[in-house]
Amino acid sequence: MQPCRLAAYDLACRRGDRLLFRGVGFELTGGEALHLSGPNGIGKSSLMRILAGLLRAYNGHVEHEGAMALSDERPALDPHRPLGEALAFWRQVDRAGEARADFGLEDLLDVPVRYLSTGQRKRAALARLAASGARIWLLDEPLNGLDTHWGASAQAAIEAHRALGGIAVIASHQPLQLQKLRTLSLLEHLP
């Protein structure tokens, strides 16, 4: 496995006229995980998108080695297609093998994505992320809509990913049961 790294330097984010946070910096190497915490609207999702390179930071920059995968509130799965086909599309784009992590989707592969429940859709999005083969996982509220059982499975999948030398950044307002988790509270970075 090639080494991977994700580092942020002095990031600030402005949405409209409002500065959401500033002075956010961290460095993660293989096997590490970071929990972004803070109340709604403080900029967790914006920070995720800045890390993913989808949003320009108002200040600072991000460096990364290794491919990144993002899971946010939009699963990027065709609503009308059966789940199996919708996931197969991304497998072909990513040229990745079968997902290592199992999210209990075998029985749902024939079901069109639009008929899936919120939790099932979340599991499908996590399965897509896990199958992508990316070394850096950016997870925006990965436990939203998951029950206790699948919440624990999702965290087990994150642990397995870290054990193989991957990085995980998790934005969540829920407590996480992960080993040696680093925490970054955006409340400490208010302007």
């Binding site: 989808l54 939009r74 699963p75 990027a76 609503p79 009308h80 784009v93």
Partner: protein, 219 residues
């Protein structure tokens, strides 16, 4: 490259076959034929009048048929997060959108060309006129597809984006309409060259303009 091929196959399937809420290629085609069918009812069965004005009607119908699928060209994929996921994988928006123009053209331009003989029959066009119409559609519909995808990218995510898209498309496609319909006038053969030129210009600019619109929409 293989990722782009996979994306193109998905685009083409979605645009040809449609999906719930996405219509497919049949709708613009039926719309096009419906206009060609209604026109003689509206102006009366004067064969000479139909033959003189019919080709222009075909062009107006083609233009309106191109506007019809605008709201499903980009919006659903943007909404579902596909463009973000592609960007994350380093797949350039320009490439995705250039392929989408091709898929859109294959799903509306080619069916229109196939339906044009039928429309020509309804409008009493002769063989030579039909030939010019087909040639004009071949040269002009790629430009319509390029303008359509650009406008779809520009208005995706806006409220009332579909209505706004239609309004924006009309002035931008006027040159194609003028040269396309003009090529059918006596001595208007030069119109085809101007049509091809406008089409090429639209095709050259569109992927970059549309990609810029998608990126700007993220801010």
């Amino acid at each position: 490259m293989r990722a782009l091929w996979t994306i193109f196959r998905r685009d083409l399937t979605l645009l040809l076959m449609g999906a719930p809420g996405r219509g497919g290629a049949l709708l613009p085609l039926l719309f096009f034929l419906a206009v060609a069918m209604l026109y003689p009812f509206a102006v009366g069965p004067d064969a000479k009048l139909l033959a003189r004005t019919g080709a222009g009607v075909i062009w107006v119908a083609a233009l309106l048929a191109a506007i019809l699928p605008l709201d499903r060209l980009v919006e659903p994929d943007l909404e579902a997060g596909f463009f973000d996921q592609w960007a994350l994988r380093g797949i350039a928006e320009e490439g995705v959108l250039a392929l989408r123009i091709l898929a859109h053209w294959l799903s509306f331009g080619v069916p229109l060309m196939l339906a044009a003989p039928l429309a020509a029959g309804l409008l009493n066009l002769d063989g030579a006129q039909l030939w010019t119409v087909e040639l004009g559609l071949l040269l002009g519909t790629p430009g319509l597809a390029a303008i359509g995808v650009t406008i779809a990218a520009l208005t995706a995510g806006l409220r009332a984006g579909a209505a706004l898209g239609g309004l924006l498309a009309i002035p931008l496609t006027v040159p194609l309409l003028i040269f396309g319909a003009g090529s059918l006038q006596p001595g208007g053969e030069g119109g085809l060259l101007l049509l091809a030129a406008s089409s090429l210009a639209a095709l050259a600019i569109a992927p970059f303009a549309a990609a810029g619109a998608i990126r700007a929409g993220r801010e």
